[in-house]
């Protein structure tokens, strides 16, 4: 006689979240007290202060009235320093990778994995707890930086930030956290795949460098190969540009900089390729309301989140199947 397992018998007992808060609290505490994080916090704070001071000086030198002067703190640079958003594009991945590259393999190397998993929790709780702890840490650091920037602005510019500015800055903060989330999950994935934390860190940094330094060039070259210009028709140019745009959007950096552009520069009416017809009726230079800007960046935001979920799911599956024997 064969006994057919009934569905409710096959299901795991209890909740996968049991113990997640304990993991989260411990990991948060670890993150916030680790020397590694302190170094990065100092680095990012110094960069912010430097870049924003430069921006403030540039802004004070221009006489023009600007309704979005606080957003300029992020986008205006002063030679030789680039604008703060230029720094964010690579500082955020760096912080995220530094937080997460030894998430899982570190636990194996310290030989704590089997002890922790022998407690009444599921692996889900461990992975989610660690991910959320990293994400909250990142959010905490970035929020502190945003406050610092606005504080500097209030002191040096002498005007109060408007509601629209604050709302846009908050959305930009959220987008920055999501952008960091991608790099967090990537580094976590590598920490599951590679037993050596150094290898995981190196692999994460390799991906990051690839996107920062090479993907732009590669997208150009690929677009030229896929959609060559043979006869010089305008359609051919447009097709090639579309390909180039599509390919470059496969990089989280492109998505993030498009979001930054739309949020911090309210005059942005469209992202990517803009044909003159699409602009008919629009008065160039007038700012878009926040709602419109959000609609504009919605695909990019969902893209960032979708990739994060995808990477996390992949890591989750690999981690569930991993032998826990040290």
């Amino acid at each position: 006689m064969t006994v057919q397992a009934r569905p409710h018998e096959r299901r795991r007992e209890g909740s996968p979240w049991t113990g997640m808060w304990a993991v989260l609290a411990k990991e948060m505490a670890d993150n916030l007290t680790s020397v590694r994080m302190h170094i990065l916090e100092i680095l990012i704070a110094l960069t912010a202060v430097g870049a924003v001071f430069g921006a403030i000086q540039t802004i004070l030198e221009t006489v023009e009235q600007d309704p979005f002067v606080y957003l300029r703190l992020f986008t205006v640079g002063r030679e030789p320093l680039p604008a703060f958003i230029g720094f964010l594009g690579f500082l955020v991945p760096l912080v995220a990778i530094a937080l997460a590259f030894d998430t899982v393999n570190g636990e194996f190397n310290r030989r704590t994995m089997s002890r922790v998993l022998a407690q009444p929790i599921y692996r889900d709780a461990l992975l989610f707890g660690k991910f959320l702890a990293h994400l909250f840490t990142l959010a905490l650091v970035l929020t502190a930086i945003w406050l610092l920037i606005f504080g500097l602005g209030i002191v040096r510019l002498g005007v109060r930030p408007g509601g629209e500015e604050v709302a846009r800055a908050l959305w930009f903060l959220l987008a920055t956290i999501f952008y960091g989330g991608i790099w967090l999950t990537l580094a976590m994935l590598f920490s599951i795949v590679f037993r050596e934390p150094a290898t995981a860190a190196l692999a994460s940094i390799a991906v990051w460098l690839f996107y920062i330094a090479f993907w732009g060039m590669l997208a150009d070259v690929l677009a030229q190969i896929i959609a060559p210009i043979r006869f010089g028709f305008p359609e051919e140019f447009i097709r090639q540009l579309e390909w180039q745009l599509f390919l470059s959007r496969l990089s989280p950096n492109t998505l993030y900089s498009e979001i930054a552009l739309a949020l911090l520069n309210p005059a942005t009416r469209a992202l990517g390729l803009v044909l003159p017809i699409q602009l008919s009726g629009a008065i160039l230079g007038t700012p878009l309301p926040l709602r419109q800007s959000l609609l504009l960046i919605w695909p990019q935001m969902t893209g960032l989140i979708a990739v994060t979920i995808l990477l996390f799911a992949l890591g989750y599956v690999l981690f569930q199947r991993q032998e826990i024997r040290a």
Binding site: E13, G19, R110, R111, R115, L117, Q119
Partner: protein, 321 residues
């Protein structure tokens, strides 16, 4: 109540082709100390991981405290304490902080947890250094901290994988006392170890593993009877005609083997305590009995004999092929 705390039926684990555990039928009774013995790679750790639901069996069934570790891992892990063979802690945290984390994962309320932690640290002799980072601990101290962790869980059963590995002799003895205390509290203990005299000292029953199978199991005298052919070893020291004495001793019933050691000592391997008969035999052989004692069957010997004969048989089979 289930009589068996651990019960496996045809439990097997294959790692891409490698058979780590092969149709294991293991039964551990409530309240006993059960020893898992066997050479490296014989499947002890794999078995333990399956009991805890940390590895999924390829086939077969497991019950631990009446729960199925595959479907009810939380129930099993809430009641079973596990000390892995290589125990590690968060080095930057203190012993107390490490234990607090474990208590939280077990959902023990904070006040209760603090009470249990203090109690466990005192009992294990780490109370003085409890607020030092674990990174500064010696290996033995970490091992003891591992036991403290077991205690705060108040388990019904503990599984120890080579717990005395790397401990100094005094610490090892201390460790064995802890195991005895656990048993006295009614906690079932499953102990995997390579240190045979320690296993013999604390275990009620022992299972011998070989290539993923449990080849023999039972109390040490039972094993001795199965493997050595006799569970009792009687040492006779007698003066007199060696050949005559030997002949008389060999003639006794229940004696499996007699070996002369030196010119006055004889070692008897028997299925029961044959001291009175041996004394009479010496007298009948015209000898003078100087000394007579009974030795407990020795696990070292059983182990050596078992795996030696296995290897010999294996070699023969290899040559024949």
């Amino acid at each position: 109540m289930a009589e068996y705390v651990v019960e496996t039926r045809n439990l097997s684990k294959h790692y891409n082709g490698v058979v780590a555990v092969d149709n294991l039928n293991l039964r551990v009774k409530a309240g006993e100390v059960f020893g898992l013995l066997g050479p490296n790679g014989s499947g002890k750790t794999t078995t333990i991981l399956m009991l805890l639901g940390l590895t999924e069996p390829t086939k077969g069934e497991v019950r631990v405290l009446g729960f199925n570790p595959v479907r009810q891992p939380l129930s099993v892990k809430a009641r079973v304490g596990y000390l892995p063979d290589q125990v590690g802690f968060y080095d930057q945290l203190t012993a107390r902080e490490n234990l607090i984390y474990i208590a939280k994962l077990n959902g023990i309320p904070r006040r209760e947890a603090y009470r249990r932690i203090d109690e466990a640290l005192t009992r294990i002799g780490l109370a003085d250094v409890a607020d030092r980072p674990v990174g500064t601990y010696s290996r033995g101290m970490k091992q003891r901290l591992g036991v403290a962790e077991l205690l705060i869980k108040r388990p019904q059963m503990v599984i120890l994988d080579e717990p005395t590995q790397g401990l100094d002799p005094a610490a090892a003895v201390e460790f064995l006392n802890i195991i005895r205390d656990l048993k006295a509290e009614g906690i079932t203990v499953l102990l995997a170890s390579h240190l045979l005299h320690q296993v013999q000292a604390v275990c009620d029953r022992v299972g011998l593993f070989r290539k993923g199978r449990m080849v023999v199991e039972g109390t040490v005298p039972e094993l001795a009877r199965q493997v050595l052919g006799g569970g009792y070893r009687v040492r006779v020291i007698a003066r007199g005609e060696t050949d005559t004495i030997l002949r008389h001793l060999r003639g006794l019933s229940h004696v499996v083997e007699v070996q002369p050691k030196g010119d006055m000592t004889y070692e008897l391997l028997a299925q029961r305590d044959v001291r009175p008969q041996a004394a009479r035999a010496v007298v009948e052989a015209g000898g003078e009995l100087l000394n007579l004692d009974l030795e407990e069957p020795n696990l070292d010997e059983i182990y050596a004999r078992y795996f030696e004969t296995e290897e010999v048989a294996h070699d023969r089979a290899g040559k024949a092929a």
